[in-house]
C-alpha cells in the first residue's frame, strides 16, 4: 500500500494499523537472520505488539552461535524504533553485583526522560525494593512497554537469591507492561531451586543443520568475491573473475564442511575459518595449475591446510592469508625444543615418576636388592590392568622434595653432589610451570613442601629419549 494511503486510512482503521506492527518487525528481521523465521515469528507473536499484554518472561536458549544475542538485540531495537518501547540489554557477566545489574537496567530504561534531568544523576537502586519502586514510578507514563534482555542468564543463579524470582515476576510486581528475556545456553531446568520458580515461556533456538549452515555460509560469497578481487594483481584479475562463481564457492564450502562439521557446528566460528582458508583454495587456480572445475584436484590441495586449520579452531590466531596456517605443535617438537640442562631433564623425569608411582613401590623400582616379592592372589588381582584407573589418567599425586631427590639419584648413573646449582634447577622447573607447588610453598627449607609434576606422559617419554632413559620401564602402570 502506498504510504500516503496508509496514513489517510490510519484514522479509520486504527486497529488494523496496529495489528501490522508484528508483521513490520518480522519483515525487518527475516532478511537479517536466515533460517530463523519461526523463532522471529514466535517472538513477534509474544512481544511484537506493545499494545497487547506482554508475557512476564521469555527464556531463549540454544547453543552458542545460534543467534540468541544478535536476534534479541535486533528485535529489541526494532521494537524501540517502531513502537517507542523502552528496552534494556545487559550481560549478566558484566554485572558482578546485584546493584550494578539493577542500576544498569534502570539507566537503560530511563534513557528518554533522563534528557530532562540530564545524565547528572543516574538512578540509584541499592536493593531490590528500590528498584521495583523506581519502576512503579513509571506507571502512568506514556510508554506502552518495557523489554529487558539479560544475556548469559545462567549467571543470575550465582547472584543474590532474590534476583531470578523477582525478574521472573517483575511484571506482576511493577504493574507495568514489561517482559524479561533471559538468554542462555542451558535448559531452564538448570535454574530450579528449592521452592520453584514461576512459569516462563521457553523458546529454543535449534542448532542450524548442515543445509542451513551451508546457506548461511554461502551468503558470504559476494563479500568474499569483492575482497578477493581487490587483492588481486593485474595479471590474475581476469582468471580470478572467471573462477569466482557461486558454484565454485559452494564447492569449496562443501569440502570445508566435510572436514570441519564433525568437530564444530558453531556457525560464526565456521564462518571465520572458511573465510581464512578460501585464499589457499583459490591459489592453485590463480597459478593456473588446476582448473577451477576440477574439484578432486583442488581437494588434494586444500585437504592438508584444512586439517591443519581444524587444530586451530576457536583459537583465533590471526595470521596473514596465504601463509601455511599452522605450525606443528606436536608434543614431540615441543619436548625437543625445550632447552633444559642435563640434570634438569633428569629432575623432571624423576618428578614425573614420583608423581605417578606410589611411594610404596619406590623400593621395588629403584633399589637393587629389594628382596623377593611374595605372590599372593590379592596382589595379582590388584595388579590386573585397568586402563581407566591408571595413575597417568587419574592425574599426578604430590611428592616431597626429599623423595624427588632420592629418585633423581637412583635413576642417574653418575654421582653428583647435592649443590645449590642442582637445587636451583628445581625452582627453574617450577618457574617453567613444569612442576607446581601443591602446598607448603613457604616451607621449602623444612621439607614439608609438596610438589606435583604437570607434564604429560608423552612429553616425558620424549625427554627420556633425549637423555637415553626409558621412562615407561619405571612406571607401575606399565609393569
Amino acid at each position: 500500500m502506498h504510504p500516503l494511503n496508509l496514513a489517510r486510512n490510519a484514522g479509520s482503521w486504527p486497529q488494523l494499523i496496529k495489528s501490522k506492527q508484528m508483521e513490520n518487525i518480522c519483515a525487518a528481521l527475516e532478511p537479517q537472520f536466515p533460517c530463523r523465521e519461526s523463532a522471529i515469528t514466535t517472538l513477534a507473536e509474544l512481544i511484537g505488539d506493545c499494545n497487547e499484554a506482554y508475557p512476564p518472561a521469555i527464556y531463549i536458549y540454544g547453543h552458542s552461535g545460534t543467534g540468541k544475542t544478535s536476534l534479541s538485540k535486533a528485535f529489541l531495537l526494532q521494537c524501540q524504533q517502531q513502537q517507542k518501547v523502552r528496552t534494556a540489554q545487559l550481560n549478566a557477566i558484566e554485572c558482578y553485583t546485584t546493584k550494578i545489574l539493577l542500576e544498569n537496567v534502570l539507566d537503560s530504561l530511563s534513557q528518554e526522560n533522563s534528557e530532562q534531568q540530564l545524565a547528572a544523576e543516574s538512578l540509584r537502586a541499592d536493593n531490590m525494593l528500590e528498584f521495583v519502586e523506581q519502576l512503579r514510578r513509571w506507571h502512568g507514563s506514556k510508554v506502552r512497554g518495557f523489554l529487558i534482555a539479560v544475556d548469559n542468564a545462567e549467571r543470575l543463579r550465582d547472584m543474590d537469591a532474590n534476583v531470578l524470582p523477582v525478574l521472573l515476576r517483575l511484571q506482576q510486581l511493577t504493574g507495568l507492561n514489561l517482559c524479561v528475556l533471559l538468554l542462555s545456553q542451558l535448559p531452564f531446568e538448570k535454574y530450579y531451586n528449592k521452592t520453584g520458580l514461576s512459569e516462563i515461556i521457553s523458546l529454543h533456538l535449534a542448532q542450524y543443520n548442515k543445509t542451513e549452515t551451508l546457506r548461511i555460509l554461502s551468503s558470504d560469497f559476494d563479500q568474499m568475491r569483492r575482497q578477493m578481487l581487490q587483492q588481486m594483481k593485474e595479471d590474475q584479475l581476469h582468471l580470478a573473475e572467471q573462477a569466482l562463481t557461486p558454484d565454485f564457492y559452494s564447492n569449496y564450502l562443501n569440502l570445508f564442511l566435510s572436514v570441519f562439521y564433525k568437530a564444530c557446528r558453531d556457525v560464526p566460528e565456521l564462518q571465520l575459518t572458511a573465510r581464512k582458508c578460501f585464499a589457499i583454495y583459490l591459489q592453485p587456480v590463480l597459478d593456473g595449475s588446476v582448473e577451477c572445475t576440477d574439484v578432486s584436484r583442488l581437494w588434494r590441495h586444500i585437504a592438508g591446510p584444512l586439517r591443519a586449520a581444524l587444530t586451530q579452531i576457536y583459537m583465533r590466531i590471526d595470521k596473514p592469508l596465504g601463509e601455511p596456517a599452522v605450525e606443528d605443535q606436536s608434543v614431540r617438537k615441543l619436548a625437543q625444543s625445550l632447552e633444559l640442562p642435563y640434570y634438569g631433564k633428569f629432575l623432571l623425569i624423576a618428578a614425573f615418576l614420583a608423581s605417578h608411582n606410589s611411594a610404596k613401590q619406590d623400593k621395588r623400582l629403584f633399589v637393587k636388592h629389594h628382596g623377593k616379592q611374595r605372590k599372593r592372589m590379592q596382589t595379582v588381582n590388584a595388579r590386573a590392568k585397568n586402563v581407566d584407573k591408571m595413575s597417568t589418567t587419574l592425574g599426578p599425586k604430590s611428592f616431597s622434595i626429599d623423595r624427588l631427590l632420592a629418585i633423581f639419584y637412583a635413576i642417574l648413573d653418575e654421582k653428583v653432589g647435592l649443590t645449590c646449582n642442582l637445587l636451583s634447577q628445581i625452582s627453574t622447573l617450577v618457574h617453567l610451570k613444569l612442576l607446581s607447588f601443591v602446598s607448603g610453598e613457604q616451607n621449602i627449607m623444612d621439607g614439608s613442601a609438596k610438589l606435583q609434576c604437570t607434564v604429560g606422559l608423552d612429553f616425558v617419554v620424549h625427554i627420556g629419549k633425549v637423555v637415553g632413559f626409558n621412562v615407561r620401564q619405571y612406571l607401575c602402570d606399565f609393569m
Binding site: 482503521w13 486497529q15 488494523l16 495489528s19 507473536e45 499494545n51 497487547e52 499484554a53 506482554y54 508475557p55 512476564p56 540454544g62 547453543h63 536493593n127 531490590m128 525494593l129 512503579r136 506507571h139 532474590n162 523477582v166 515476576r169 511484571q171 506482576q172 510486581l173 511493577t174 504493574g175 507495568l176 507492561n177 545456553q185 542451558l186 535448559p187 531452564f188 531446568e189 538448570k190 521452592t195 520453584g196 514461576s198 512459569e199 515461556i201 521457553s202 529454543h204 535449534a206 542448532q207 543443520n209 548442515k210 564433525k262 568437530a263 564444530c264 557446528r265 581444524l310 587444530t311 576457536y314 586402563v387 581407566d388 597417568t392 589418567t393 587419574l394 592425574g395 599426578p396 601443591v438
Partner: protein
C-alpha cells in the same frame, strides 16, 4: 473483510490481556475463600487480631485468592474506611529494616515517625500501631500480607515475625497477618518463641487433581469470548479496585479491564462455537490430557493458552487443532535432548564414551584423560573420527562442561588440579543420550553402533 481482521486483532488482544492481567479471578477454592474473607472481615469490623498462613504449590492461586478476597471486601465501605493493607514480599523486603521502612510508608506515617529515635524494633512497630489508634475510640485495623513468607523466616532473629505475631496475640491493636508461602514445612522454620505466638491457622490450597473435565472446561473458559453482559459484570466487579490506596499493591494498576472491549455478537457466537468444536476433537483432548498430566495448576494452563492465543492472525483467524498439538508437543519434548541434537558429532562421541565409562564403572566420576583414552580407541578404528587432535577433543569436552551436560565434582577444586585431570560427573541419563543418538541428523552409522555397544 476489514471488520473481521479488526475483530481478530481485538480478540487476540482481549484474550492475551485477560490471560495475563486478570489478577483477581479465582476458580474453585470456595471454602478457603470464605475462610479468608471472614477472617479479614472480623479484623476489620470487630477489631479481632489474627494470623493465618496460606500454603500451596507455585501457581496454585494463593496470591490471586487474596486479591480476590480484597476485591470483594473493598465493595464494603466500612472495610475501606477501617483497614489499612500493608503488602510485603520476601523477595523485595530482604531484611527487617527495609520491611519496617516500607511498613511506615505504606501506613502513611513517615511524617509521624520522622525524627523519632526508637530503641528497638518492637518500640517502633508499637509506635506505628499507636498512631492508628489516636483520635477516635475505634482504632484502624491493619492487614499485613506477607508474600514468600518462608523468606521472612530467614531474617535475623525473625524480629519482624515475632513482633507481628506478638501484637496479634496480645490484642494491642487489631492486626491480621496473612502469610503466603509454597513451603509446606514453613511452620518448622519458625523459632519456638515465634511459633508459639502464631495462631496455627493454616489454609492449604491444592489444585484439584482428580477432575479432568474441570480442566477442559477451564481451558474452554480461558479461550472463549464473553458475551457483553458477562463482560459488564466483570467490569463491575473490579470497579472497587479504585478504592485501593496502597502503592505496594500494583495489580490494580494494570488489571485487565473489559471496558474497552465490545464484541460483535455474531463474532462471539461464531468464535465460541469454533472453540467448542475444537475441544471436542480427540487430538485436542489428548493434548489437554497430556498437559493435565504434567501440571494441574491454572498458571501453567494459562501460559500454554497465552502462547496458543498469540498465534492468532488475520490469515489464521481460529485456533486450530494442529496449533494445539504442535504447541503441546513442544512441552512434551525434552530440552536436554534438543540441546544434545545440536552438538557436533565429536561432542556426541565424547558423551557416548562417557556413557560407556559410567555404565562399566557404575557411574564413577571421570576426567578428560579417561574419556579421551576411550574415545581414541574408537577413533582409531573409525573412519569419520580419525585424526582429530587432542586439543580439539579437549575443547569439545570443555564445551560439554559449559552447557552443563557434565559437571565438575567440586566447584572449588579449580586451579589446583589440571583441567585434564579434574573429575566430572554426568548430568544426563542414558536414555537421553540414546534418544539423541536416534534423533541426530545424519549421524555416521559407526557412531550409532558404538553407542549401542562399548565393544569396538
Amino acid at each position: 473483510m476489514h471488520d473481521s481482521v479488526q475483530e481478530i486483532a481485538k480478540t487476540r488482544r482481549f484474550l492475551k490481556e485477560r490471560l495475563q492481567r486478570d489478577y483477581t479471578t479465582v476458580r474453585g477454592y470456595e471454602s478457603e475463600r470464605n475462610n479468608v474473607r471472614q477472617l479479614l472481615q472480623r479484623t476489620a469490623e470487630m477489631g479481632e487480631s489474627n494470623s493465618l498462613l496460606l500454603i500451596g504449590p507455585r501457581g496454585a492461586g494463593k496470591t490471586t485468592l487474596i486479591n480476590a478476597v480484597l476485591t470483594d471486601l473493598l465493595e464494603n465501605k466500612s472495610f475501606v474506611d477501617n483497614t489499612l493493607i500493608v503488602h510485603l514480599d520476601g523477595n523485595l523486603h530482604t531484611d527487617d529494616r527495609i520491611a519496617l521502612k516500607s511498613i511506615t510508608v505504606q501506613m502513611r506515617l513517615e511524617n509521624a515517625a520522622d525524627g523519632k529515635v526508637f530503641g528497638s524494633f518492637a518500640e517502633n512497630l508499637a509506635f506505628l500501631l499507636q498512631c492508628l489508634k489516636a483520635g477516635d475510640k475505634k482504632s484502624k485495623s491493619v492487614v499485613f500480607v506477607l508474600e514468600e513468607f518462608d523468606l521472612f523466616c530467614t531474617h535475623h532473629n525473625q524480629t519482624l515475625l515475632y513482633n507481628l505475631f506478638d501484637v496479634s496475640q496480645s490484642a494491642q491493636a487489631p492486626i491480621c497477618v496473612l502469610g503466603v508461602t509454597c513451603r509446606l514445612d514453613v511452620i518448622e522454620l519458625l523459632e519456638k518463641r515465634v511459633k508459639s505466638r502464631f495462631s496455627h491457622r493454616q489454609v492449604f490450597l491444592f489444585p484439584s487433581a482428580n477432575k479432568f473435565e474441570d480442566y477442559v472446561s477451564l481451558f474452554q473458559h480461558l479461550v472463549s469470548l464473553p458475551s457483553n453482559k458477562e463482560l459488564q459484570a466483570a467490569v463491575d466487579r473490579i470497579d472497587s479496585l479504585q478504592m485501593f490506596k496502597s502503592d505496594a499493591f500494583t495489580f490494580q494498576r494494570n488489571h485487565f479491564d473489559g471496558v474497552e472491549y465490545a464484541f460483535d455478537k455474531k463474532h462471539v457466537e461464531n468464535w465460541n462455537k469454533q472453540i467448542e468444536k475444537l475441544i471436542k476433537t480427540p487430538a485436542a483432548q489428548k493434548t489437554l490430557q497430556m498437559l493435565y498430566d504434567f501440571d494441574v495448576s491454572e498458571a501453567f494452563l494459562k501460559t500454554f493458552t497465552f502462547r496458543l492465543v498469540a498465534q492468532l492472525k488475520a490469515d489464521a483467524p481460529h485456533i486450530t487443532v494442529e496449533q494445539l498439538t504442535a504447541l503441546g508437543a513442544q512441552y512434551e519434548c525434552d530440552d536436554k535432548v534438543e540441546l544434545l541434537c545440536g552438538l557436533s558429532v565429536l561432542e556426541l562421541c565424547l558423551l557416548i564414551a562417557i556413557k560407556h565409562h559410567s555404565s562399566i564403572y557404575d557411574r564413577d566420576p571421570f576426567n578428560f584423560e579417561i574419556i579421551f583414552g576411550r574415545f581414541s580407541k574408537f577413533a582409531k578404528v573409525s573412519t569419520t573420527m580419525q585424526g582429530v587432535e587432542r586439543a580439539i577433543v579437549l575443547k569439545a569436552f570443555e564445551h560439554l562442561r559449559i552447557v552443563e551436560l557434565i559437571m565438575p565434582l567440586s566447584s572449588s577444586g579449580m586451579g589446583k588440579v589440571q583441567k585434564e585431570f579434574e573429575m566430572h560427573k554426568m548430568a544426563l541419563t542414558y536414555g537421553q543420550i540414546q534418544q539423541a543418538v536416534q534423533r541426530y541428523q545424519a549421524l555416521p552409522t559407526e557412531v550409532a553402533q558404538w553407542a549401542q555397544s562399548s565393544i569396538i
